[in-house]
């Protein structure tokens, strides 16, 4: 199963403070271990929200606002996408991530087709496939 491990933003990440060489070295080592275990699918760091935008959806209206955004704790600074046998395996692995005091990681299970259960009827799935195919053709 797949998990997305979200790195919550901090004051430093939002201020664009680059991690120390020591931290980068530790992070490289951690990522190598993750890759070495066959679990790492993808992972990236994100620029501060000051370089991002938000799109707000209202009835028939789309409002785009520029960053930075205020609620630091709700913002993201990066992510990993990993393949693990179970949530506890993912938790135990990421307890070893070289984070700083005050940092927070949030682990979320990625939806897979079977997770939708009976709510995803064959008709709905067919419709979703059709949509995906259209998007695919346009992109």
């Amino acid at each position: 199963m797949r998990f997305m491990v979200l790195v919550k933003a901090s004051k430093d990440s939002e201020a664009g403070v680059m991690p120390s060489e020591q931290l980068l070295t530790a992070m490289t080592k951690f990522n190598e271990e993750l890759a070495g275990s066959g679990a790492l699918l993808a992972g990236e760091g994100l620029h501060p929200s000051s370089r991002g935008v938000r799109i707000h959806f209202d009835a028939g209206k789309r409002n785009v606002t520029d960053g930075p955004f205020a609620e630091t704790k709700e913002l993201l600074a990066g992510f990993w996408l990993v393949q693990m046998k179970s949530l506890p395996e993912c938790v135990e692995f990421f307890k070893r991530a070289p984070m700083l005091p005050g940092d927070c990681l949030e682990i979320r299970k990625v939806f897979e087709a079977d997770d939708f259960g009976p709510a995803l009827t064959p008709e709905l799935r067919a419709a979703e496939d059709k949509l995906r195919a259209q998007v695919d053709k346009r992109s």
Binding site: A39, S86, E92
Partner: protein, 430 residues
Amino acid sequence: MTAASPDVHRAIEAVFRIESARLIAGLTRIVRDVGVAEELAQDALVAALAQWPESGVPDNPGAWLMGTAKHRAVDHVRRDRVGARKVEELGHALEVGAAASRVEDDMADALDDDVGDDLLRLVFISCHPVLVTEARVALTLRLLGGLTTDEIARAFLVSEPTVAQRIVRAKRTLSEAQVPFELPRGPERVARLASVLEVIYLIFNEGYSATAGDDWMRPGLCEDALRLARILCGLAPGEPEAHGLCALLELQASRAAARVGPDGAPILLLEQQRARWDQLLIRRGLAALERAEQLGGAAGPYALQAAIAACHARARRAADTDWARIAALYAVLARVQPSPVVELNRAVAVGMAEGPAAGLALADRLNHEPALAEYHLLHAVRGDLLAKLGRHDEARVALERAAGLTRNARERGLLLERAASCAAGVAPRR
């Protein structure tokens, strides 16, 4: 002892799953016996289960487990030496004692040495040719994949005691044959690596196209195989075929969600909804293929199969498939690794590139191939090609024959459906 919460137990099991391969690899280097090493690792797990619920999971649980296991390993070696001394009735106990303590120092150093090489040695020993295939598969999943015997049993639809016995026998065989814990070199390495790749591919295929049972796929097993393949690439980054295999598995896995219908029935490649193909795995597969080719391995059997899978992955619609290239790649594969199954696949590709008559001519050459006599796909392919040529009666007979030969219930249903549409004189949808 206080009653441990299930959470702590789950955490300990998760830590053990992460650490067990490294533990067993490091311990095998000391005790020179995979079976003993695994027992020592299990002892360390039992110790953790006894202590951690009260003391909490240590900050560095891997080091805790390794430290605990290492002490036991040193005890084990010391006991062995004392035993050996008694047996041989050596008089110079002092000298032996000094040698033993030197060995203990070496062992302590050894544990801090390159863990990667020990893991690679463990991969090679688990897939050693002295073992029968089932034993290699079970041992690899157990020691490298960290699966329990129960998990392996469920994945392969056999009983747990069967798996447990396979593993016990495998460890005994390795011990009796005194298989060295080593990195094979030269020509031996090529053969030994081929065995490792074969085991991983077997595990993947059992998950990808279950040979028995009611389900068409067992995705958990595919994921285990993929992780093993990626681990192998990390341990042996200079081996082009390791990357070739990894590329092949990533590319095949990218289609997993598309090859099963909502009712659980299989959907064949050309009818799959390509929007459901996993683009992340496709990118990873193409990158691994590129690495295999950069390392000079373009003509390796796994790299060639990956290159064929890549042709499908690159085609946005089934109609865009470069069948001429696929047929050419199969022709190379047939030279590198001659096999009737490869010839059969080449027949399919040629049938697509040059028309069903050309494909059927190739497939018909395989009719008297003893290796394919019981192979359902030969008849399935012939049935398809015959149907395309409008020879519906012959097509129906071939498809029914294929249905009678497959052991997979889902696949049988699909083949009978196609046979029925032939009987009705309609060309079956592929």
